[in-house]
């Protein structure tokens, strides 16, 4: 693999055959996140200023911690992100994740995840780079087929 500097703004986009409301539910409700987000259980009220927590399966460990910055159901959700799943990332500055949900023609919705403000968090930037594609692919499969991706 080519050496690369981890990107300080990362962008991931996918078209999903689902309504914006369905996508909002899938990214905010733990009964969905456990099925495509590495089994993680989400905990937040998704009100501005509320905490954002992503627990490992069985709540064994807190994987991600943040704060909800903006919440506009079912269009836009922004929260800070601190990766606690490895020690190096945990000591870095919080970064920011924005979920943009835009309806398109023909019953399709575009979901874009922008993970930015990673300038002082190179370890986090590197560790999430592959993960977001996997998560969005799994989310699309779950919403379109009702089944999670077969685990590799």
């Amino acid at each position: 693999m080519t050496t690369m500097t981890a990107q300080t703004t990362q962008l991931y986009s996918v078209f999903i055959r689902a309504t914006p409301e369905q996508i909002w539910d899938a990214i905010t409700k733990p009964e969905f996140t456990t099925r495509y987000f590495y089994g993680s259980e989400l905990e937040s009220t998704f009100e501005q200023g509320a905490s954002y927590k992503q627990w490992a399966p069985e709540r064994e460990k807190l994987w991600v911690e943040g704060e909800v910055l903006e919440s506009d159901r079912p269009h836009r959700l922004t929260h800070t992100w601190r990766s606690l799943f490895d020690e190096d990332s945990a000591n870095e500055e919080p970064s920011r994740v924005t979920w943009e949900i835009e309806p398109q023609e023909g019953g399709v919705t575009k979901l874009t995840v922008v993970h930015d403000q990673l300038e002082s968090s190179p370890k986090t930037a590197a560790s999430v780079a592959g993960g977001w594609s996997y998560v969005l692919s799994g989310l699309k499969t779950l919403l379109e087929t009702g089944e999670p991706l077969e685990s590799a």
């Binding site: 080519t2 703004t9 986009s13 996918v14 969005l136």
Partner: protein, 106 residues
């Protein structure tokens, strides 16, 4: 043309793969930056970027007066999850079966 067709078509060209590699190294670039690394007219680069955008492999954002190009790896992941996984899994399980059969008869 399906989404997968667009992705395969976009990837079936060395210049477009080269553009993706440039964005992989450093994301969020302007057309002018990308153009400076290719021996090709601005119009030619724009044409390739349009096909990459149509396939969802490149996404653009406006930042002030600039239009920045970002690599979007999700379509490649989708092809991986839907196609490549399916076939490699069978090969792996065939090898696993072969191994257990050989070991049983040994």
């Amino acid at each position: 043309m399906t989404d997968d067709d667009l992705v395969f078509r976009a990837l079936a060209d060395p210049t477009r793969r080269h553009l993706l590699d440039r964005l992989f190294e450093r994301d969020g670039r302007t057309l002018t930056e990308l153009e400076s690394e290719l021996e090709m007219t601005r119009f030619g680069v724009m044409k390739h970027l349009r096909l990459l955008e149509a396939a969802g492999l490149v996404v653009t954002r406006r930042e002030g007066r600039q239009k920045l190009h970002f690599l979007n790896p999700v379509p490649i992941r989708l092809i991986h999850d839907r196609w490549i996984d399916k076939y490699t899994e069978r090969q792996v399980s065939a090898l696993a079966t072969l191994k257990s059969e050989l070991e049983e008869t040994a």
